[in-house]
Amino acid sequence: MKSKILAGVGIAAVAAAALTGCSSSDGSSAEASCTNKIVNEDATQVSVWAWYPAFEDVVDEFNNTHDDVQICWTNAGQGNDEYTKFSTAIESGSGAPDVIMLEAEVLSSFSIRDALVDLSEYGAADVKDNYTEGAWKDVSSGDSVYAIPVDGGPMGMLYRKDILDQYGIAAPTTWDEFGAAAQKLKDAGAPGVLANFPPNGRAFTQAMFAQNGSVPFVYDNANPTDIGIDVNDQGSKDVLAYWEDLASKGLVNVDEAFTADYNTKLVDGTYAIYLAAAWGPGYLQGLEGSDESAQWQAAPLPQWDAADPVQVNWGGSTFAVTSQAKDKEAAATVAKDVFGTEQAWKIGIEKAALFPLWKPILESDYFRDLEYPFFGGQQINKDVFLDAAAGYKGFTFSPFQNYAYDQLQQEVTAVVVDASKDSATALDDLQATLEKYATEQGFTLQ
């Protein structure tokens, strides 16, 4: 009997000790799990989620130069992985960082859930002049500013000079020339194709449509329940029909982007052209299995009308302050200043291959004349990306952009992969699906 009581007490004690191992974490979790080193222990700590490569150096730069605020950084995943964690934290009311890296396309999805702080009350106007018009428009909605721009993705065309020279093809400047070049490459019996049109292109596909005048969404946070949807305009239909035609003739591939197969094909010469954003070179350089004899060059994106060039953007990110931030002033300071110095941007450009939207660096001679060894010393910013960034006027995304992209992917897959629909029907179906979804979610269609 005694031994049984002893055993029972012992078990209870072990259980209690085990449970205290789960320490309470409602204030200390951020500090407990910084990836970087905190320089000044007494200062206010601001937790940051970001996935930039080489970001730790930028954080150290900030921590070493600021006495009153320190950054505590963790990489919470890339893109959607981070967004699902953020979304769950918003729903549960805790667990979100103070400052979070968000791509511009998901800003309205989070601002509509009151997850982001309006930075116009925290001095956003002070830094507005440091950013291009297009970049600022992407982070604003009416008078509210929901994030500070960091890097952008102005689009250009990266091509394999060695492959195009081998088959006597000049780098195309219009989409008509592009189609002709694709045909010429195939007729010459090349093992690869000219380019790839990924069905899961998401923002890439949207940018291609935008280049032909598509304005898919009209949305303003000032009237959060109104939305205008126009995804089946003639411009988009023409673009999709163009790619449908090339795909059906086998002149371009329709491989899904960002898979292991796709990464290999990018660097081994299967695709002679990579329609890329300014972060594309950094992405290429990070891939294994590159062709040793590859000579990459950058050129402006092909245009529909050579006389009236339209510049578009794919991706790019911002820093937003979350509504769960304890010290919003400090968080806003971090968002504005972390990529607000030359030193930080030197690291961002040289180590992370980011394209800055911060004008003092963007417009500097250093950036303009920068020679990229990957492109054989070509000054790709001067030649391609600076004009692309300057010409970019901004873009409006929907507050349910993830859903819109998934539906877009299904429709594009049906057109170019399964060949079960033509492009006009697919976009009409997409319009109907999005309108139905918006109405179900309580939006009023404009």
Binding site: K4, I11, A15, I112, A260, D261, V417
Partner: protein, 309 residues
């Protein structure tokens, strides 16, 4: 358990009853840690999720109570019903496939007594020891047109390798992955059941003139029918909740596998991609209802063979 009651004479009832109560209290003390965790991580979340499923939250207009309207919406949602149809089709194909492989393997191994049978048992069971996600990731590389062996193998015969990840072939690709992973587990269960049959029955059958095949089909299989029913029930529940393999393969085949391919994937996408947590809870519970009906229905239909009273 009556070992202690037998020894206690009636005259000492008072002390004896408190002895039983004390043992019961100590028993509860032992179970308490498990119960706490069970309640915290299973019961409360279920209740909370059910509560969430009674509300509706739209992006534009916020949360309001709608009672069981969400369930009506779920059971008329073409994506949910489509997903249900798909997993039902998977169940119809995958369960017999796994069962046949497991049964044949178990019967064969039951007949052999050599070291080969021990090695084979281990090899067939090995895929089950691999975590499901790792197994699916491995298969995603095996199926890849560039990295997989299919290209090389088909070239030997002068043929073009089929694309295992296109919409037409993804069904069989997934069936293959699941069968590879789970047949070993079911084989072990059936093998254990076979081992528990008294060999004297086989001798009696042989004396009566039965050959090996007849012993297998007329004696062994009926005698292990309750194990087989259990195996089928587990497989049914697992298949209706099909999630891991399609989600892992989505990273290489997102065209063939949309986000709502199975009801579980649909619930996941609703919650974490589209931020519709309430409706996601509804879908999850609706799926649970279907799984309940499916598994209890199956157990009821096989009540003669399944060995449950």
């Amino acid at each position: 358990m009556t070992t202690h009651a037998v020894a206690a004479p009636p005259a000492r009832t008072g002390r004896h009853r408190s002895g039983i109560e004390r043992r019961q209290r100590v028993g509860w003390l032992f179970v308490a840690p498990f119960l706490v965790i069970f309640a915290a991580f299973l019961i409360f979340p279920l209740i909370y999720a059910f509560g969430m499923s009674l509300f509706s939250s739209t992006l534009a207009t916020g949360t309001k109570f709608v009672g069981l309207d969400n369930y009506l919406k779920a059971f008329t949602d073409p994506l949910f019903l489509g997903g249900l149809g798909r997993v039902a089709l998977y169940a119809l194909v995958m369960i017999p496939a796994q069962l046949v492989v497991a049964l044949v393997a178990a019967l064969l191994l039951d007949n052999l007594a050599t070291w080969l049978s021990k090695a084979s048992r281990l090899l067939i069971f090995a895929p089950y020891a691999i975590p499901v996600v790792i197994g699916a990731l491995m298969w995603s590389f095996l199926y890849s047109p560039r990295f997989g062996p299919a290209g090389t193998i088909f070239e030997l015969f002068g043929l073009d390798a089929p694309n295992f990840l296109s919409s037409g072939t993804i069904f069989f690709s997934l069936v293959n992955v699941v069968t590879w992973q789970w047949s070993g587990y079911y084989m072990i269960v059936i093998y254990a059941a076979l081992r528990s049959i008294d060999p004297a029955i086989y001798e009696a059958a042989r004396i009566d003139g039965a050959n090996g095949w007849q012993i297998a089909t007329r004696i062994k299989v009926p005698m292990i029918s309750s194990s087989m029913i259990m195996v089928i029930t587990f497989a049914l529940i697992g298949t209706l909740q099909f999630f891991t393999e399609p989600t892992v393969l989505r990273s290489v085949a997102s065209g063939a596998l949309p986000a709502d391919y199975t009801p579980n994937m649909y619930a996941f996408a609703l919650a974490f991609s589209y931020s519709q947590f309430n409706y996601a809870s509804t879908i999850a519970f609706s799926l649970a209802i279907v799984v309940f009906i499916g598994s209890f229905g199956f157990l009821f239909l096989t009540r003669k063979q399944n060995g449950l009273k």
